[in-house]
């Protein structure tokens, strides 16, 4: 099979996969969903138009200032692109699905690797284009067609981010071995994505008080520490702002890096994939046999859930990322920003707890891999659900306890508000997952949102409302009660639309 034919096949699968995810598998919704997506993309242009400076403000910026601003704006998406590409690369090496079929065919592994890597680069660049596209169009309308160069520049950056991610993953493969790279790479992907944003935020807080990342990155101090104009450091910004030579150089660099990666790693692809597959066959220890613990059915269920959660590398990386995002407000707290810090920490902590609980509850309730076993056990269905909810709440408690303790030392009232908020947000998210539970494989966690859009939206709104209520309560505002009531009313409304309730 030619590379072109394989790429067409992969594109078709990716497109159908995307449609299935967007429509929750209901093909009759395809047109509606595509129309809604197009409308949302168009609406993003309005958001970009409101957020971006007007023509005069852009014209008033000097060339160096503009490049610094563009570089600052590009830094975060590039970090996120590397993170996304690392996650995809890990799946490229470790996910079996049709890889066995492809690698057992007479097709050269280099060709398979090239097509799969191209797919990752395309997906990585596409997300950046989807988010950055409206801004590019608005800038092109306001300041001239030169901004349209940002489109190919983003593609080149997507390719470069993918290449960087592949080499990072490969380095981990060599460093940690196939067995440990899967977990290490997924954690690294989360850290790469979050660390830049968080690091810059902490630096901004440390040096300028409560400044935004953008203000910090474009500050004179940062500007003075960066390379002089003409350095390759500014190449992406120059390419994005329409400098033809820089754009050509960026595209050539991306093509060369891609070709070199395919040339160097492609012939080893089957060897890497085989090592990754082999790693899963030897994933257990041969140490001392641990005696069984005396379990009630409920404690057996809780222990099983915790064990599975602790062994889920993707979940660990996501939890780590959420905890990392709490680092800047924790830093503010540490540095005695007082009530101001608590007002940031409390809602962020409650929000993170709600989101974490939603994910864990889905895994425990809907993502039960041995449903027949659990349902055929002599345990009442209510007791099973209760034990699973307890497992979720316990895990959320464990993840949030250190920051909660930290908060209690500096501001007892805020800690109480946060504790109540975390409890309410976690219970609400768990309840939503219970009401909208559906049978799914644990491995489909990334697509859990597709099973019920209403549950996804309700989960997000519930977290936001409880975060707001806890934040207001930390300030002693009576509005906290009204917000909590609003959250309860929203939950009551959502419950009316839950499949279980409607069927009753």
């Amino acid at each position: 099979m030619s590379a072109k034919r394989l790429a067409t096949h992969e594109l078709r699968l990716a497109w159908r996969d995307f449609l299935a995810m967007a429509t929750a598998g209901r093909r009759e919704r395809e047109r509606t969903v595509l129309a809604l997506a197009a409308a949302a993309f168009a609406a993003l242009h309005l958001v970009a138009a409101a957020a971006l400076p007007d023509r005069l403000a852009i014209a008033a910026m000097d060339a160096d200032g503009l490049q610094l601003a563009v570089t600052a704006l590009l830094a975060m998406p590039v970090a996120l692109m590397v993170s996304q590409a690392m996650e995809s690369t890990t799946r490229l090496f470790y996910s079996r699905s049709d890889l066995d079929l492809l690698l057992s065919s007479p097709m050269p592994p280099t060709r398979i690797f090239a097509v799969r890597l191209g797919g990752i680069a395309l997906a990585t660049g596409a997300v950046a284009m989807l988010i950055g596209g409206p801004a590019i169009d608005v800038l092109a309308l306001r300041d001239g067609a030169r901004w349209l160069a940002a489109w190919p520049a983003l593609i080149a950056l997507g390719v470069l981010a993918t290449v960087a991610a592949v080499w990072l993953t490969f380095a981990m493969f060599r460093l940690f071995g196939a067995r440990h790279t899967r977990v290490a790479a997924q954690i690294a992907a989360a850290v790469v994505g979050a660390a830049f944003v968080i690091g810059v935020q902490i630096a901004a807080i440390a040096s300028m008080g409560n400044a935004t990342r953008f203000q910090f990155l474009t500050s004179p101090a940062i500007r003075a520490s960066l390379p002089a104009s003409g350095s390759p450091f500014w190449l992406p910004a120059e390419a994005v702002t329409g400098d033809g030579a820089s754009l050509l150089f960026l595209l050539a660099a991306a093509a060369t890096a891609f070709a070199a990666t395919v040339g160097l790693l492609g012939p080893r692809f089957s060897e890497i994939a085989a090592a990754a597959a082999d790693a899963s066959f030897h994933s257990g220890g041969r140490g001392r046999v641990r005696p069984f613990r005396a379990h009630s059915a409920a404690s057996a269920l809780r222990a099983k859930e915790w064990r599975l959660l602790a062994r889920d590398p993707w979940l660990i990386s996501q939890t780590l990322m959420q905890i990392l995002y709490l680092a800047p407000p924790a830093y503010m707290l540490w540095n005695g920003f007082g009530g101001g810090a608590a007002s940031v920490v409390v809602p962020v902590l409650v929000m993170a707890a709600g989101q974490l609980a939603g994910g864990l509850a889905w895994l425990a309730i809907s993502g039960e891999d041995a449903r027949d076993l659990v349902e055929s056990a002599p345990v009442a269905a209510g007791a099973v659900l209760r034990a699973k909810a307890e497992a979720v709440l316990g895990a959320v408690g464990l993840a949030t306890a250190p920051i909660l303790l930290f908060l209690a030392i500096s501001d007892g009232k805020a800690a109480l508000a946060a504790l109540a908020g975390i409890g309410a947000a976690s219970l609400s998210a768990t309840a939503i997952q219970l009401w909208f539970r559906s049978q799914a494989k644990r491995g489909n966690f990334r697509r859990r949102q597709t099973s019920s859009r209403l549950a996804t939206v309700a989960e997000a709104f519930s977290s936001i409302l409880w975060a707001a209520a806890a934040g207001l309560a930390a300030h002693g505002s009576p509005l906290a009660f009204a917000t909590a009531l609003l959250a309860l009313a929203m939950l009551a409304t959502v419950r009316r639309f839950a499949p279980a309730t409607m069927a009753a």
Binding site: S280, K304, P378
Partner: protein, 249 residues
């Protein structure tokens, strides 16, 4: 105490079309019963209803005298269900899986640990007892699921195509384990498309077609009923299925 491990009366279940229609059957304690039928005959639906995984539209199911519809928890204490697709947790080791199952059935820890280790050794999984199941072959997963089903010493073992994916040696091991359970007084109900296995192992055989039990008895009784003295189970089964094929529209 009910003399029957399983007593089903007038069982009905309908999905888009009737899946089980007025099925009645009895299985005694200490009996090996093979439930046969063509694809879509209603075997798995029937067994899932017995295991408490599906609610019948009508009829009654009694497990060692306990009404499985009125008191499902009591009935489930005695049952082990092994589906055709082994559903185990990839990120647990076989020992951890058995510990979990034992917990669900409230088996004392020390007893469960000893039984679990013995079962894994018997089924040839001793060397893999502490490896996570994610890299296991289908046959190994099937054996882990079977060990899980047996760790709580069930009195009624229901198996849906348990030999699929097993190599000859493993299939033999599984058959030996099941026969031993039957000798110790447990009842085994097994669906299989490997008719030689049913012919050799089952004391009684039931044939389901279109959601109804259309033939039942020992091999000799089935032969006599079909008028095929000396016939193989395959010949008898095909005759019965042919005779009960739905009339063309």
């Amino acid at each position: 105490m009910d003399a029957f491990a399983l007593a089903i009366d007038d069982l009905h279940k309908r999905f888009a079309r009737p899946a089980v229609s007025g099925l009645s059957m009895r299985v005694a304690a200490g009996e090996f019963y093979a439930l046969l039928g063509p694809n879509g005959a209603g075997k798995t639906t029937t067994l899932r209803m017995v295991a408490g995984l599906l609610r019948p539209d009508r009829g009654s199911i009694r497990v060692f005298g306990a009404d499985a519809l009125v008191n499902p928890i009591e009935a489930r204490r005695a049952i082990a269900w092994v589906p055709d697709e082994p559903l185990i947790y990839d990120r647990l080791t076989p020992l951890e899986y058995l510990e979990f199952v034992a917990g669900l059935w409230s088996v004392p820890a020390a007893e469960a640990a000893s039984r679990g280790a013995n079962l894994l050794e018997t089924l040839g999984l001793g060397p893999q007892a502490q490896e996570r199941c994610e890299g296991f072959s289908r046959g190994m997963r099937q054996k882990v699921a079977l060990a899980g089903a047996l760790v709580h010493e069930p009195r009624l073992i229901i198996l849906d195509e348990p030999l699929t994916g097993l190599d000859a040696a493993s299939a033999r091991l599984v058959k030996q384990v099941l026969v031993e359970r039957v000798r110790n007084g447990a009842a085994v109900i097994m669906t299989t498309h490997i008719l030689e296995v049913a012919e050799r192992m089952a004391e009684r055989i039931g044939v389901i077609a279109q959601g109804r039990l259309v033939a039942e008895g020992t091999l000799a009784e089935l032969r006599a009923g079909a008028g095929r003295e000396g016939g193989t189970l395959e010949e008898i089964f095909l005759d019965i299925v042919q005779a009960n094929r739905p009339a063309a529209a």
